[in-house]
Symmetry: C2
Subunit: 237 residues, 2 copies
Amino acid sequence: MSKASLIIIGDEILSGRTEDKNLVYLAKWLGKLGINLSEVRVVLDEEEEIIEAVNALRKKYDYVFTTGGIGPTHDDITTESVAKAFGVETRIDDDALEKMREFLAGKELTEPLLKMLRIPEGGELIYSPATKAPGYKIENVFVMAGIPKIMQGMLEGMYDYLERGDILHSKSFDIMVGESFFAEELTKIQDTYPTVSVGSYPFSRDGVYGATIVLRSVKESDLDSCESAVKKLISNF
Amino acid sequence: MSKASLIIIGDEILSGRTEDKNLVYLAKWLGKLGINLSEVRVVLDEEEEIIEAVNALRKKYDYVFTTGGIGPTHDDITTESVAKAFGVETRIDDDALEKMREFLAGKELTEPLLKMLRIPEGGELIYSPATKAPGYKIENVFVMAGIPKIMQGMLEGMYDYLERGDILHSKSFDIMVGESFFAEELTKIQDTYPTVSVGSYPFSRDGVYGATIVLRSVKESDLDSCESAVKKLISNF
């Protein structure tokens, strides 16, 4: 499977003021393409932090997505930082400039608007049928806005640039007993089905402890066999 | 201000199956102590990934918090991984063992229960009035459960171990116009008030674009002056 990572850029996420919604959306969207979201970093609006994250993750993963920091205000520094991570300058995209002029229909093209047309040298704007605002890519780094609806539109445009992998199928089952009661049996199931990833995610609902057992595999037949074993385990409680 | 980071450990977050709730809670809780959450990483339940994140962040920040992966099942590998990050073995904590024996009152102390009593050598269990389940710390790394209610209880126990910093005061104001219309004026305000961090966070509500302007400073008087300037800016639209 291909592996992807996400860099969420923004002080407002780290202060707890804004709850990120893009991680879950991207994870599920990529999952349907057989691409595994494998790491996420949330960083401040600070150049050095963005550069470090971009350079660490673009070498480690097939794809890096970023959200946030591409607006027109002084605290939007994603594009400048991504350019520096690649050691290139930024440039105003001619095609974007033309589209903006059409859109403005004679109104003033201000500095803040010009700033939003800048992308790193070597980058490529990615238009989408779903939104007027384009994202862009440079090598394996895909840059998107932070506002969920705009991010989702930009992501649709990136579909054709991504190689699909084997779909990871999954099934999940709730067991209404604390994990310590079934941990040993579950380990045996994991050992018996090495092509299936067996996860146990505990929860407490109204003071009752339980867990969701999640099985994941690219092989559906192995998943089915493993499912039988898990159902047998659950029936013991 | 002191700086903290958070490592969210768990495949279920990265698959999009479970939405993390601990980032926002921790960010706000630390903010009240004058500690700045400055970076978050979400990593898979893989030893190498956890070790890398722990070792990178414990050197970079005053405090590192981790959530998830301390239960009794085979996919709970946080404690083993944290121990390896510090180059130490794990041990069963005597005090925790005694408490568990009392709790079990003669019932069998199974392997999965024993596993949960293990912490890295040099680590210290942290009990909390809010919960029976203790978290633990080793040097500047604080290890907590992933279930939000349990995590929140463990965090209360950690209060006394953290040095308070200057409280970052903040004020926020909505402006109902696209960012490009006020970006230049806002830059001037930021330049005039260097002790205030001026952020602009765009949103779209029912198709109308606007932004929340957030001012943050440890100096309340500077915040007040800056507030006047921002209110004047907003009144222009």
